[in-house]
Amino acid sequence: MQIVSDVTLKSLALLNFKNWEELHLSFSPVVNCFIGPNGVGKTNILDSIHFLCTTKSFLSTTDIQCIRFGADYFFIKGEFDRIGNLEVIQVSLKKSEKKVLKRNDSNYQRLSEHIGLLPVIVISPQDTNLIYEGSDERRKTLDLALSLSDGLYLHNLQRYNRLLQQRNAYLKEADTSGRVQHDILTLYDEQMDPFASYIYNARNSFLAAADQYLSRFYYTISSAREHCSIRYQSDLADNNLAALLAQSRQKDRELLYTTRGVHKDDLEMYINGQPLKKFGSQGQQKSFLIALKLAIYAVIKEQTGLSPILLFDDIFDKLDQKRASQVIRLVQEMKFGQIFLSDTHPERVKMLTQQTGSHSKFFMLDEHQKITHHEA
């Protein structure tokens, strides 16, 4: 089956990005596989694609850490096809300078304006952080997904966070100076309120939509009929933010920070009604995370009408042969977009793509970072 994607990366060029001194690749619009032993730089290639779409690494690396050891800049350039238009995106960073992002040769004033142009979803071994790390990991994933699907979300989130920082700074300052002006706190409560409502409603409806897909995707991946669900936890479920902040003002003044609001939101994951973290086996957790990421993918596609680029890192880390091909089949049935995947073994990747019979490109990486490629 031939997929015509709405967003495809046609070619990629890297200079001094992580372990890649120089790299030029051109891609299939359907499936692209990076194959090679551990440590050769497969994940780094996927990360550079993520960088072009979101201006950030999907690993927890800072921008500076992406510069190849010993070099003093990195450069990434991608040629995308977006609904029939060529979009040339370039990101570069010189040590001790600001990151520069260009679309078709003109600089973006604000990086955030770029987010949403080229939707992308990553599935990687790091996803287990969503289960084991704190709520900020879950909010980060959710915020990126919403930023990709809703043009106003990131702006409203940034405004909320800025006002929150100012409110917290004021709580500390009022404590040091020993006098608090209640009208200033009220000012922040009222300013933050509409942004909080927007964020709450956006997260709530996004997660409700994603929840609809979850059990079905889980079944396709694992052939097991478990009931999977996600539940959105937010202080705002009870009341609007201005009212919540008025209630907790005394507490906030004692603790010197804002104790309630959408910056405390969380996403809970359940399998058959039990918390996934405690009651899910390792296998169940892995399948759940893939189903969750694909559900997020499906909602972004539903809301934007664009098929995101799917980056599937170490695909067999989570899946055996049979399940991996079920995932690829699901992705194709759903008319998902262009896929980039990585693995250490050529045979199983080839079997995977033969089964699906789609137009694939293979990039074989060796220890010396030499790349041979062929198509199937």
């Binding site: 043009g151 106003l152 006002l163 100012q166 700074a169 004021y170 002006q181 200033i184």
Partner: protein
């Protein structure tokens, strides 16, 4: 980077002072200082004198807090201006920018900053307390709040609004919209969305 030491202590002092200016690093400061030297004593003295009078002779307008040579600035002293309108701005640069448009004939009120607790700036550090009284006493009918479209600008605008809303006047804000000459496709969604919400009658859009 190791700092090269300069051959003269007077030069060093001048470079040190120049480097305190915004946007001027040590390298540029050295370049400026050497330029002043090269231009000869007359140039340098004239520059020094102008900085001296800037520091000692300029005052702040007691009414609008614009910079001024006397207690009341040239704008406030100009009785031909429209006394029914006051435009509230963050600083003196905004007065210059709006004056350059030639579109506003009222008076100004310079706050001297925006509320920014992270930078240690609260309302008590701004000239906002005297604004309601000024509005009441001067027969002002409309206050135009022309503050930056940032979180701090909006917070301050909201604060100003709260201080004035009990008065029988119109309080307006700058229109926010697509920049002239900008392709719609490249306008950010927030700005474009605002422009659609705050659209204007076509006849108004023809005015230049």
């Amino acid at each position: 980077m190791n700092e090269q030491s300069l051959p003269s202590r007077t030069l060093e002092r001048a470079v040190g002072e120049l480097a305190k200016l915004p946007g001027i690093g040590r390298k540029s400061a050295i370049r400026l200082a050497l330029h002043i030297l090269a231009k000869g004593p007359e140039f340098g003295l004239s520059l020094a004198e102008s900085i001296h009078s800037l520091a000692t002779e300029t005052k702040q307008c007691q009414r609008c807090h614009n910079i001024s040579e006397s207690d009341i600035c040239q704008i406030c002293a100009d009785e031909r201006r429209d006394s029914t309108r006051i435009c509230v701005v963050e600083d003196v640069r905004d007065v210059l920018a709006i004056e350059n448009t030639g579109q506003f004939k009222g008076y100004y009120h310079v706050l001297g900053g925006v509320i920014n607790p992270m930078a240690g700036v609260g309302p008590q550090d701004l000239y906002v307390a005297d604004l309601p009284e000024r509005v009441e006493k001067t027969g002002c009918e409309e206050v135009i709040v022309a503050l930056p479209a940032t979180a701090e600008g909006d917070t301050t605008a909201f604060y100003v609004y709260k201080k004035l809303k009990h008065l029988p006047i119109t309080i307006s804000a700058l229109a926010r919209g697509v920049a002239i000459g900008e392709e719609l496709e490249y306008a950010d969604e927030i700005t474009l969305g605002r422009s659609i919400l705050n659209r204007v009658p076509f006849e108004n859009s023809l005015k230049i």
